[in-house]
Symmetry: D2
Subunit: 456 residues, 4 copies
């Protein structure tokens, strides 16, 4: 049989196996893995790694937040993702108070569908005004939205009674709850106190959001998940104390999962002390923590105390970030940092090459486990019948990160100057070569919404 | 030297020592312990135990709660306490929204002072309307009120930000926070759901207040205490899951203390299934739990996972209790049960005599540790200079508990028919013989408010 | 490309993936996995599972033990294994006191090579007389023997100083120590005491070998492994207390692995109370334990507290087993039970079908993890370049275990009457169909010794 | 009543209470504690602490060890103890192989009785040759020897089977086992290896006895104690890993107790690197450890992970210590250091004054808990009926430790130059003033053997 496309002689890396062989693609799918396969088109990959396309389960593209909209559109953001080897992302949808949930989903899909260059899914955010709409969750789940975002912080947070109700409803339809865990009552008290005493600089952003209060909130929602009987996925774990709440639950046998993000692995809160807008740029929530937390997070990934690295990509421009500096109010700085393009290579360079974890664990963290937890049935692995989302990764390619080497639109990056060894040479999405040797061949709207199913 | 009063030849039991000797009282104080002491008056105590007067740190006398007032007045309640060997109690004071805290304290003292027959202290409750008054805490502490009640449940609960502020203020004056820990958002959601579906019987009282949500709240306030850097005392621990949160914190070295009450040691939630008002009588919060929890609580006392047994004495009459039955609404039943008289003897009979813990541990739990934690400097021990608050305890005296053998005013007791072996023969308060062989010699108003100091 | 042999349309089950596809074999290896593959020979597998050949890392074939030799020869034992879906086993070699280690290895290989029908490896046992020969380990490792058996029990046990030396030497060559952990001083004291007081029945076999003393020995060798800095694999974990020592070490991050065996998962110590030789048959060491231990072991497999199920297959005939009964001495009963044929199907039936763990975990426990831990580089998985050791497993085939349905030679089985659903239809070893529909097509001597390498 | 002797106006410190009062002594006993007591003799103690006499439960006086005898006789050692505020010590007796245990006890008592100036008890060491004599333990216990020493190290160590038998026998008579826990097989292997490679300096003493192997042995005997069902007391805990094995057992509820000694609290293994005999002087077993271990031990005392500080006082002269240096063999240096005189004051200065623990905890560690654990019914507390063993302690008296300020006979001290603030002004034993203001008033032979009873 002659396949449509065969990647020849690469070193296939999955979460479990490292093996040299050909990968054959027929249509959109992986059709065979083996020796001596032939294709209409063949790409030579000797000396390169062949991995599943990376999956980023936590992304905010063209997200309205107050007066601003996050700087990457569905087009620019998904294109940057493709350059970095990411072939699927999961973004968010949130209904207006009176809006039916399916309408909100359709509207957000409509916005994304014509712009995305890779496949995507959506988490649906459940806010207090959605509690009366929980009966609509079955339809939402059936429409392919299998995970639900619950905030324990900000004005649209759920109180614990609402959290319980949301967790029950999500459990009943077979979905996965994903949670922003911070203790908002404490944070808002500390923010108010700091502002009232003229402690307005970015320095006080992390001082107003103690790691222990992130751990407390994680512990609380883990208790609620135990009460209700549901698995749970905790977003953007930033420090050691939070990791250990998750690890304790897992030791007890609770199905609790945690992710961290590049900002917590590569940056520390010292950055908030930089002068002027520089101190404002790395504002995100939860905030950056200490170097000791950083070390703990890397170890947690190796020890499977945490399961996933996503980006929480949510870029704003320097001008937007400057607002809180000009207003002398750290709480007015829009929160979020970019990472959608660099994540896969950053983890290879500083995870695999530094010996913190293996090649297979890298693929597990970035591709396989995210796919499995979020019900992307045909993504995240190199196996027969899976979508032909693949990266031909050059382990020796060197890149120095900067706005000029990246394709993100924030105009700055917190990783400016970071030396990377290892970068995608080719990114393939459902059999289409999207990026090859730094050139982009995709087009807006070719990506598809992926209907997801119960996590296993 | 000839002392005013000498108790001759008793077996002195303190939290540490069991020894046969005389105890001499001069004025209000213990003046000597030893052999061959002589007194103007002498009481023979051979074959009896001589213990410190018991201390009950959790009592609600003539407490207004909605339409009702708890059934024991400062006089009848403190007299019943004296009959049972308790010589000091700590009740509560709560300021009205606009009322200065010292005014509230003075008013509550004025109400108590003319009625109490034994010494007493007051915990001050801090409600949301008191947050702006936290600067008054130093004066309150100086006035002898060294502990502060914080609710995580009911309408006067504090949110977590307020809790943090209250804990900081209490820490700054050297006080001890005491907490009612339950997750109110979850409870009120469950109560509403149960009532909405006609699950209105007392059975659903405990189903609406899961042990895990009491444990969650305990864990949360323990986290806040860690954040703030303060010791903490958790009221009325009702089940195993709560015990273990406290025990975990203590293993980490946090100064966290826990109490339980007779209702959790002697009763179980099965009682809520009794017919009619009988099922309503044992309504209290946290609710009664399972037999497994009961076993765990007894062991926790032996292992010092819990430190104190108080009563949370808060009696209502059968007529009052019947309201929620008549209204088909378990949440309208006034909560609370009586125990102020029986506690010391109940723990002797079912703790010491059944071999669950030692004589010394009994005294520790009921007398010494409560005194130490709550700053009753001269109470809770038999040592020179301490107040002459003493019990001559007859270890063989048998009593069957019932409204007719007790002096409490609820008109019923949840321990009806419980067989007790061991009862106070004489109760002495600051050198005065208050009760002797079932006869009461005290008078209303002889008890005094005790100014308390920082716990050690 | 047309391959030598293609298994068509089966459901491929690896430790990570379940997918329907063809598997192509070229020569001895898996050459491709995919859709539409064609072969010179094709076997239809629709409705069947295609798994890696199972691996049994703990087997005693024609092992001399005192006056007896275990009942299965390298031929009958390996043939029974093949019937049950096992395509690789690891047996043992032990040098005589004066014998060079390589000579012993060569002699044992010579004995096996002409009889085995599937591939095999050897653990080398290190006894006290081998301590002076530890410098020979590098050569032994180079010869393909990558794991070393250390006894903490029996006359050839190592004391703790010798254990440390052996662990150091094994660490230095990159090998994996495998340990029989029991406290022999305590056991021999208890055996002597029981025999001296006429407690001679099999009942006293398990009473003389307390679970706690197996846990102690496991904990001790875990401490030694920490001191030395080596991974460690603990054989035949029989009870909950032992599991938890391993789990504790793993939580600390130590690379400790544990196996259990069918006897501990399916049988309990009550069997020792059967009359006559029936009570002697299930004698093995460590002994059978309680039902509570059994439950704990199943859960430990699901939770990855234990990693492997092997058999410790070591059969003796009823006549041999009867000796200790006739001599009134439980310690004279030769220890060991058979399971080499049934293991894979027993775990499918009572593990997967009862919902205790997933299909993938079953393959992980029986195939993938054993291969990985023991350096069988090309075994235990279905991936390109791996040996074509495969099982076509009929999930609906029913078997009732008994000597007449099994091919083991003990003449009895402890699992007599056990109902099995799921049995191998075809067993393939390095591309050769060895068993097909109950008929054996292999021949003595076709199996090969597999040189193993450092575990990863 | 006029008592024989009254200590006036001192601050009485017990393990539980700090109170100002008089202490009256009648004959040998404490007869009263109180205000206004009068005595035939009165000693003014205003501004001083009045504590129970200190108890040292681990002492080796005139102990034969190979060619040497420890440098302090029963007279000089007990006199030095009295100078330091210690009024009771427990030494050791060991029977010769053929000697009945009671004979050995009588012989050791005869040697001590005529020399001791304070009261004493004896632990009986059980060696392998005593295993056949275990039936004699009841008589030994009845003769007042209530604790039994078991070695896991040295030539007279017990193997685990013998340990189990000894623990059972001790349990049956109600005694307390006290254990030297180190893994001797590992230690002797490491010692031999070090000597064989010319690593002969004292530096290699601690390298040959890893903390982890002390922890292992402690863990092992804790397992045996669990198997047998007996409490256990672990001698001379030297490092953090050992502490945590004890703490783990205590958390599980096992009655396990641990002591440490001044050498582990004040010295570190760096001392072994001093030149010549200076490096040999602090040789003791277990060896000195690291500064991190030291910090952990101080915290363990504060947290009640350890319960007692004894001395393991076992002095040798510089000439004796020099042997192993001259012979180039660290293992030939006689092990042991002196501390019998300084312990109580050292712990006051560096424990209480530095804020590591309270006054009451100091008395608990040095007096009350040792008395309670070792069955010294009338020692270790200030309470009516207790022996009048008392110290009037001057909290401001400054001493610089050196052979000239101490009364020990080794001729050197490892604490040379240590600045002490707080020293006994008066030491009273059973009502006799033994030391007053640096002058000794006792005489050889006035001390008595104390028959001890079951620990509570």
């Amino acid at each position: 049989m002659t396949y449509d496309l065969v990647i020849k002689n690469g070193t296939i890396v999955t979460s479990e196996v490292t093996v040299q062989a050909d990968v054959a693609i027929q249509g959109h799918r992986i059709a065979a893995i083996g020796e001596g396969l032939s294709g209409t088109r063949e790409i030579e990959a000797e000396g390169k790694l062949v991995t599943p396309g990376a999956i980023d389960v936590h992304v905010h593209l063209q997200m309205p937040i107050g007066d601003f909209v996050s700087a990457d559109s569905f087009f620019t953001g998904s294109r940057a993702a493709a350059f970095g080897g990411t072939t699927t992302f999961i973004d968010f949808v949130e209904a207006a108070p009176a809006e039916p949930l399916l309408d909100a989903l359709a509207a957000r899909q409509a916005k994304a569908d014509k712009r995305v260059v890779i496949d995507y899914g959506l988490h649906m955010t459940i806010t207090p005004t959605d509690i009366p709409k929980l009966a609509q969750l079955a339809a939402v789940y059936k429409a392919g939205c299998a995970s639900f975002k619950l905030y324990m912080a900000y004005s649209h947070r759920l109180n614990d009674g609402e959290l319980m109700q949301a967790l029950e409803a999500i459990r009943d339809v077979g979905g996965l709850p994903v949670v922003h865990a911070e203790n908002w009552d404490v944070i808002s008290t500390l923010v108010a106190r700091n502002l009232a005493t003229k402690r307005t600089a970015p320095h006080f952003h992390s001082r107003s959001r103690p790691t222990l209060m992130e751990a407390e909130a994680a512990g609380r929602v883990i208790d609620l998940a135990m009460l209700v009987g549901t698995p749970l996925y905790i977003f953007h774990v930033s420090g050691a104390a939070v990791v250990e709440r998750i690890a304790d639950a897992r030791r007890r046998g609770q199905p609790i999962y945690g992710e961290t993000c590049p900002q917590y692995l590569f940056l520390t809160e010292d950055l908030y002390d930089r002068f002027g807008v520089e101190g404002a740029l790395p504002i995100c929530a939860p905030p950056l923590r200490t170097e000791a937390d950083q070390i703990h997070l890397w170890e947690a990934l190796a020890q499977n105390k945490l399961q996933v690295v996503s980006t929480d990509h949510c870029p704003f421009t320097k001008a937007e970030k400057a607002r809180g500096i000009e207003e002398n109010n750290f709480s007015r700085i829009p929160g979020g940092v970019p990472a959608i393009e660099g994540r896969f290579s950053m983890l290879y360079t500083y995870g695999v090459r530094l010996g913190r974890f293996s090649l297979n664990r890298w693929v597990d963290i970035c591709c396989t486990t995210p796919a499995r937890l979020f019900g992307l049935e045909r993504k995240g692995n190199i196996a027969i019948g899976y979508d032909a989302d693949l990266v031909i990764f050059d382990p020796d390619h060197k890149v120095k990160l900067s706005p000029s080497t990246l394709h993100e639109m924030a105009g700055w990056t917190p990783y400016e100057g970071l030396e990377i060894t290892g970068w995608p040479a080719v990114t393939i999405s459902r059999g289409d070569v999207l990026v090859e040797n730094g050139k982009f061949y995709g087009e807006a709207g070719r990506g598809k919404f992926v209907a997801r199913v119960k996590n296993s």
